[in-house]
Amino acid sequence: METSDYELVMRSRGGDDDAFRFLVERHSRTIYRAAYRITGNAADADDVVQESFLRAYRALARFDARAQFTTWLHRIVVNCALDLIDARRRREGRIDDGEDLGQLPSRAASPDRIALGSELQRAIETALDALTGKERTAFVLRHFEGMPLEEIGGILGTQMNATKNTVFRAVRKLRQQLQPFTGTPV
């Protein structure tokens, strides 16, 4: 029978490196995918995987035995990814708080290029990239991962109304950016 995450965490706490290695090997791919969806590129996702396991290791002593290890780890991953996006945007000199779509340069594809599916996918990625770190994270968790708003709020540290607003802002911006593809008014 496969050793449970809980047992591996307990053994890791006691200094058993092999136990922590099992946890790393068991969850690396899953959290890589989660990190990729938030950061949007492989190099950043890989950095998030490393940093998340490091933070998790440092916090093992505080892991609450009643919690699911995967939920706990996921929360760390999302926070690491958010930190990374924020740092990257600061380096690039992009504003990340309270920015209005009207202030962003529209990078949406022109209508004559909308027939191609790959163009649409690229436009979606560009539109996601134009969101703030928090908006992107909230949208990815709600839309792609189907996570309930309450849980998203728990991860982002926001109350229900603020979480709803974050998702709503993300949807509004995406609709505006993707308008050439859908032809629907915003």
């Binding site: 490196d17 690396s28 492989a42 924020d86």
Partner: protein, 252 residues
């Protein structure tokens, strides 16, 4: 008839709890049903980009890199060396900035004391280091601000798990001490004062329990709010960010 708002339509699309009333309305209202269909036309097309599969053996790779970092971290001497080096770096950066500032305040001295090219290269180097330092401090304040905002937005009902936040706070606390000391030595009073106010709050969070009771959370939120820490961080950071990059001296 009151139609559903755009926000409610988004909740309807995801069939989120609390949207039942709006869903009932949409079922009866042609106009709102049309709006929801238009929203769905966009959101249905937003599918996740294909995540490239990591290479075979990725798990082992992750572990190898991680294990190396863990072993380094567990050596106590290495920890102190790391912080010592970081502190030294910051002190050098601050001092360089100070020197640059003094130098720019007395341009005559700088020009006459050295032959042009060497003086300009040195001034450019110091200016660059000063800029890097400002970016580092600004980044520290932005991260602190974000975590305080997150904490003040948490709902104090039952036990709140702040394990992930504590990890971030521990890192911030270590940096905060270094930046506060050096800012004070450099005479950057507004930065030093703010970091001095921030430190006890960070310390309380880092050393406190990882699951907060409603009262404990309320206490922390009150402490942050009564001191106006978030606002002060925003103001001081705006000042730091607005500091213009010094003009580069051409190497003649």
């Amino acid at each position: 008839m009151n139609h559903v708002s755009q926000e409610e339509l988004v909740l309807c699309y995801y069939a989120d709890p609390g949207s039942e009333g709006a869903q009932e309305h949409v079922a009866r209202c042609e106009e709102c049903a049309g709006e929801l269909a238009r929203l769905a036309m966009v959101l249905d097309r937003v599918t996740p980009a294909e995540v490239p599969e990591p290479p075979a053996g990725y798990e082992a790779q992750v572990w190898r890199r991680l294990h190396w970092r863990l072993r380094r971290e567990r050596r106590p001497a290495a920890v102190w060396m790391k912080w010592g080096a970081a502190a030294a770096l910051v002190v050098v950066a601050f001092t360089s900035g100070l020197l640059w500032k003094k130098r720019s305040e007395a341009p005559d001295r700088a020009v006459t004391a050295s032959s042009g090219e060497a003086a300009n290269a040195e001034a450019n180097g110091a200016a660059g280091r000063d800029r890097i330092l400002l970016v580092v401090v600004s980044d520290h304040m932005a991260r602190s601000e974000r975590i305080l905002v997150e904490l003040t937005n948490m709902t104090p009902n039952g036990g709140v798990d702040i394990t992930a936040e504590q990890l971030r706070v521990e890192e911030l606390l270590a940096s905060n001490r270094i930046y506060r000391r050096t800012a004070s030595e450099r005479g950057e009073d507004s930065v030093a004062t703010l970091l001095d106010e921030l430190e006890p709050v960070l310390m309380q969070l880092a050393n406190g329990p990882s699951t907060l009771t409603a009262d404990e959370l309320r206490g922390i939120q009150k402490r942050v709010e009564t001191r106006g820490l978030v606002f002060k961080l925003r103001v001081v950071r705006a000042g730091v960010d607005a500091t213009p990059a010094p003009p580069l001296q051409p190497n003649i």
